[in-house]
Symmetry: C2
């Protein structure tokens, strides 16, 4: 099958030269995911400027049976925005749809188009004395539409939840080109189940998110970032409970990393320095924030919390940020873990969750199992302990051909990790989604009842199978 | 068509005498909704004791094509748990499935069966120093399964969200008798879109909720309830913004009622007294709470907040609860509005929402329109201003035959109110659901794209149309 000349001509006429191109110089940069794991082909790149234009091109695709892969910042972790190699797919970029339609400071919400970049959203809301609380490493490229389609997480999920918890309204184009308009920001609406939930996290397979109304919060008036050294991951979990008990809702982040990760980071960032003098098996980064209504007592409450933690022997050492610059410096260490790990050499990465209370035991038990089964490997976990979600990397033995290892031993290790996670009642995708990366693993390990529901709903909403084929379901 | 003797015999054998009955003395009390709006018939009452028994009876229904109406406490507002008059339907009670399976105090969550009554859940969690924050008038009969199936709201939605925000995991039986097990309490899980969202708020039409894992919060350590007298609903909205600004997250409820409602309540509760000396066009009940981590400064913060509100002339008068008994007394007034209103005579009720910031204007504009169009009626709004959701009652002119009026003029008024709400971008069901009460109105006024999605998903998950027929879709 080749994509019909009729389709290409109509698409070109419909969207004009800025909205549709087949020029390989322009298309090619978007055909490989940013981690270089997946490369595909496309019959063209559509970049509509409005929901109407987008709906028109989707109707055209439906009429000609052309599959569509929607793409935002192309910074996903699972290849969800990369087409297959057939060359029949239309790559549909949302990047031109980047208007912030309205910021309502009184109602604390923003309505913006899918192509708005997260960092742009942060800056626009900060200008109004508000903030959008979700943030993550790829904020300079990740778009609102991509964040919604993948139900993105990041480092503040502990307090504010993932994207799902922040979406108040949604606009989307369905597989047949109809527009679902649910931007109306009603706090309460019980007209049947909440249709927008079908779009959030469905990776573009049920519809294409074109705009959203998002929840905003009062700006942070003060924050304290604490760096703590700990003897074990279990101790980190105990400290987390202590912090939740002490400052409740003010606790905004609780991230962990082992000493090996911190070492890699300090090598990766030559100008950075270790927050603590000594070495510790584990390190925790703890963020406590206050808005205007509670800023007065924040530092005092943190001091009380940490004094009690020392008294109870919950940690080995700790330091508290004395300035905003120091708070930033602590976060920079955390945010550099992933790039620093990549510099250490070939590895397989896993984005897993198990029930929060089981996470320390899970890591302590399974890391030695993996290292024993595949001698020379090193299993490293770091990330969002507060959410029961860590990034679990297994680093290849030294002097290995990375690609060969990843496709052979690495693949076997990933299956083994996913088996273990499933056994412990966890998820093989805590926040990165399924995409094409984990589709086989989801089919292998997913609950058959859940999978059959997912497929039935997909079939009902996209009977031609045109929306992001080969992803998720 | 008569329900086959085979089915009835197999159901009886499968569930035993405690699990299945056709005795009309036992069945009949459940065939009319508690407000007496709807009465139906059933071929029998099934009361399974476990998920396995329930799945077995659903498979039997699927084999014999017998429709199923699930029922919890039978305290819904929209007739969603009442069967039609055909007599072919099986009434499926969840009330025997009332085990609280586990309360995990450290992880702050409870796993319980669908038949657990809300008040029982409150008591069980309070015993552990925790609380389940959702509460409403029918807490003595409403069950967890019903609350989830209708995505119930109540008076603390402002801070904690409706049921959807509190469900961490779900177990449900699908139309073909398969069991969907999603009780695993993972904080982060991105394996496709969140299937449990399809069950929440779908009124038993997509599956039958059998158990759930729910979020718990630390117990309230202190609370202050403030009663404020206001010149207008617009002033109430301004005061709400002031309170949000002053105490942020500590603001847990903000309920409003006009003087007429308070008068009716004081008549209904002869022993109650008015919180303020004077009369005011509107009254607001404001709840501010603190857990252990923030109790120390609560009263002080409330005093600062109210002093500033007086300074800025945001209200006419106010009083602050000096004791827990007084706090309870203020809430009793609010909770008595609905029964007190019923005593005033025949009325049509509407459970509506419009965007929060438009609510004062909506009520001020539309109430006189209704009263002018139908002379002798009185339009009264009260409820959850913080959520943009009020209960909007239109009281019949005096000396009217209630039933005749409700079916004639009352019905026309409801259509008019729903038209207005739709025009203002609102919802005709903010929290009570659609059931059979508003199914025609949803079909008339709902967004056609949203309705077709709803129907496609329903068709995909229940192709025989056996689950709660005649409700919602």
């Amino acid at each position: 099958m080749s994509t019909s000349a009729d389709f290409l001509e109509e698409a070109s006429t419909s969207l004009g030269p800025r909205g549709f191109t087949r020029d390989s110089d322009l298309v090619e940069p978007w055909l490989t995911d940013w981690r270089g794991r997946f490369t595909g082909r496309a019959c063209g790149l559509a970049s509509p400027a409005s929901t109407e234009e987008l709906a028109r091109i989707v109707r055209l695709c439906a009429a000609h049976n052309v599959p569509i892969v929607p793409q935002g910042g192309n910074s996903g972790m699972s290849g969800g925005a990369t087409p297959d190699e057939s060359g029949h797919t239309l790559l549909l970029s949302l990047r031109r749809m980047n208007a912030i339609r309205e910021i309502d400071t009184e109602a604390r919400r923003v309505t913006c188009e899918a192509g708005v970049v997260l960092q742009t959203l942060h800056e626009a809301t900060e200008d109004k004395g508000l903030r959008f609380p979700l943030t993550l490493g790829g904020k300079g490229s990740a778009t609102v539409g991509g964040l919604i389609s993948t139900n993105a997480g990041g480092s503040q999920v502990l307090r504010h939840g993932s994207m799902r918890a922040l979406v108040l309204g949604l606009e989307a184009v369905l597989a047949d080109g109809q527009v679902l308009s649910m931007l109306t920001p009603l706090k309460k609406d019980n007209r049947g189940f909440d249709l927008k939930q079908l779009l959030i996290g469905s990776e573009g397979t049920m519809g294409i998110v074109t705009a959203a109304t998002l929840k905003l919060l009062p700006a942070v008036a003060e924050r304290v970032v604490i760096w703590a050294g700990l003897p074990s991951l279990g101790a980190a979990r105990t400290l987390l409970l202590h912090c939740e008990d002490s400052v409740g809702n003010a606790l905004e982040g609780f991230e962990v990393m082992p000493q090996a990760c911190l070492d890699a980071v300090l090598k990766h960032l030559p100008s950075a320095r270790a927050p603590l003098e000594g070495r510790h098996a584990w390190h925790a980064l703890i963020e406590v924030v206050a808005d205007r209504t509670s800023a007065a007592t924040l530092r005092e409450r943190c001091e009380t919390m940490m004094a009690a933690a020392f008294d109870k022997d919950l940690l080995e050492d700790a330091t508290m940020s004395a300035s905003e610059a120091q708070a930033e410096a602590f976060w920079l260490l955390r945010e550099s873990v992933a790039p620093a790990e990549r510099e250490r050499g070939p590895a397989v990465q896993h984005d897993i969750s198990v029930p929060v209370e089981k996470m320390p035991e899970f890591v302590d038990t399974t890391a030695p199992m993996i290292e024993a089964k595949w001698p020379g490997t090193e299993a490293v976990a770091f990330g969002h302990l507060g959410d029961g979600n860590v990034h679990y990397h297994v680093i290849a033995p030294a002097v290995t051909d990375g690609l060969v290892w990843q496709k052979g031993e690495g693949k076997a290790i990933s299956r083994y990790v996913h088996d273990l996670v499933t056994e412990w009642g966890g998820s093989i995708s805590a926040e990165h989604g399924i995409g094409q990366l984990k589709r086989d693993e989801l089919a292998r390990l997913g609950d058959p009842v859940a999978l059959s529901m997912l497929r039935a709903v997909k079939q009902a909403l996209d009977p031609q199978g045109l929306l992001n084929p080969g992803k998720l379901v």
